[in-house]
Amino acid sequence: MSEIRGFYTLWLREIKRFYRDRTRLVTSFIQPLLWLVIFAAAFSTRFLLPANLNYQQVILPGIIGQTLLFTAMFMGINVIWDKEFGFMKEILVSPVSRFTIFLGKMVGDSTDALLQGIIVFVIGLALGIPISPITFLYALPIMLLITFGLVSIGLVIASFMGNLEGFGAIQTFVNLPLFFLSGALFPLKGGSLPSWLVDIAAWNPLTYGVDALRNVTLGSAWTPLQIQPLWIDIGVVALFDGIMIIVGTWAFTRMK
């Protein structure tokens, strides 16, 4: 019971801090807009797509995945702030278990990242990208599932880092490869991509997250290009989440 309350209060803290950071909420509109409008316009003719798909439709789930990734990784900074300003100590000496501490922070940060993802989805609809709004309901749990693992990466790295500068550098090292190698900006299949690129992408958990989002938002139009059927995508992402939660709990247990 007290573990549940501990979880709730840690979750609530992340939400409150996020909500109070208005500037970040506002700026979060800008980046996806640039990708969806400018990048999509410039590159729409570069990729061979079936006649029933346009490039914006394909890139929207990719940009949602990118937003989830970047926001999730950014959340690791909170851990470093907490260490720097001492608040982490207050949490770590409390009777709440490290598993609960990790989970509370992770789900809280994931909720924040999810909100950012939702914003991108809404922007996509507002731009008139032909995606059925009802698929939003299917996409929502998948988005959450994707963020769990990604937030965990950020938290694990942050738990090992002592300062913000170091975290910033490592964050870029993780963010960009995961983003570019996930097929977020182009279909991995059915094109003329070099096979090494496709092979590496197969090891990227985000590849399956983005594929799952395309499977639900684009439906049968995506089937010829899909990496895996939806249930395998979800299985891979869930497996990754499970592993990262174990790693994260371990990382938080060894944190002083």
Partner: protein
């Protein structure tokens, strides 16, 4: 009285360095126990082990009857901690910080509101409770942390350097709360400090710790008694002559001239002062001032460690405390 904390040969080593070296001590229920020592003496390391933050290298300890290694979680529920460094979330309000703490420590939801209101009243932050922490002054933050440590009704409250970096007025304020706490709560307080006056004013018993070892442990007054001696400080126009007369006629050979004043160590200063005045008048020495200095903990510390506590360069020499110390030097 029953023991609330017991340590047996508690040791923490970092390689060759023994930060805490076979520390054995007993803290009794409801006392304020002062752990006094210079920076780097091992105070925070000792406290960290008792708070289950650091595992001991060897030895053992119990807090509230629970082993600090095997029953760490029960120890955590029994204690409140005010860390040396700030540990509050400055993007939340004071009240939110307190609610968070109450939830982390499993305070029943039905009692939270009332307890938090009472704590806010105790530390006089009721009218600022719903402001973000970042708008609080250093002293207000400290008060909130002090109050926060009490919400879950701990048996032992650890205060690690509670007034470092605060201005004298705020220190007075904090001291007042700690004293009040002792009178109104069923609680044992363990306090670390490198301020002599702080340990003296608050503690029932004081342990002086240096190089990780307990040098001596007693009540403040008994510690001062062990020095056996007051110091009479005389300012006069001819100190050298007075020094000679005092030694010759009164037999006080333990006298030295320090900073333009004659310091005479005697057993009972109050009865000696008139004799010194008499002697000076008879020999036409003009006395500007004469005062009695009873031994303070500073002298005790010097006596037992051979070092002046303020000689240590410290990492937290900043803000008000640094200014204070510069003024003292």
């Amino acid at each position: 009285m029953p023991a609330v904390i017991e340590t047996r040969q508690l040791t923490k080593s970092y390689g060759q360095l023994k930060a805490v070296d076979e520390l054995s001590l007993t803290v009794e229920s409801k006392e304020v126990f002062g752990l006094l020592g210079p920076n780097g003496a091992g105070k925070t390391t000792a406290i960290s082990m008792l708070c289950t933050i650091l595992p001991p290298t060897s030895g053992s300890a119990t807090v509230n009857g629970f082993d600090i290694v095997r029953e760490a979680n029960k120890v955590r529920k029994s204690i409140g901690i005010v860390f040396q460094d700030p540990s509050i979330d400055d993007r939340l309000t004071g009240r939110e910080n307190l609610y968070m703490h109450a939830n982390l420590y499993g305070v029943p939801a039905s009692e939270q509101k009332e307890r938090i209101n009472r704590i806010l009243k105790l530390v006089e932050l009721e009218d600022r409770a719903d402001d973000l922490l970042r708008t609080y002054s250093g002293g207000m933050r400290r008060r909130l942390e002090l109050g926060r440590g009490l919400i879950h009704y701990p048996k032992v409250l650890f205060l690690d350097e509670p007034t470092v970096g605060l201005d004298p007025q705020t220190r007075d304020h904090i001291w007042k709360y700690i004293k009040e706490l002792k009178e109104t709560h069923d609680i044992t307080v363990v306090l670390t400090t490198h301020y002599m006056d702080e340990a003296d004013r608050l503690s029932d018993r004081i342990g002086i710790i240096d190089h990780g070892k307990m040098v001596i442990l007693d009540t403040p007054s008994k510690l001062k008694d062990t020095l056996e001696g007051d110091v009479v400080v005389v300012r006069a126009n001819d100190l050298n002559a007075l020094s000679g007369f005092v030694a010759k006629w009164l037999g006080f050979t333990k006298n030295t001239i320090v900073d333009g004043a004659l310091e005479i160590t005697v057993r009972n200063g109050r009865t000696v002062m008139p004799r010194i005045m008499e002697l000076a008048t008879q020999n036409n020495i003009y006395v500007e001032s004469i005062l009695l200095r009873e031994p303070n903990l500073e002298d005790v510390f010097l006596h037992y460690t051979g070092r002046n506590i303020r000689e240590d360069t410290s990492k937290e020499l900043h803000g008000a405390s640094a200014a204070r110390r510069r003024a003292i030097r």
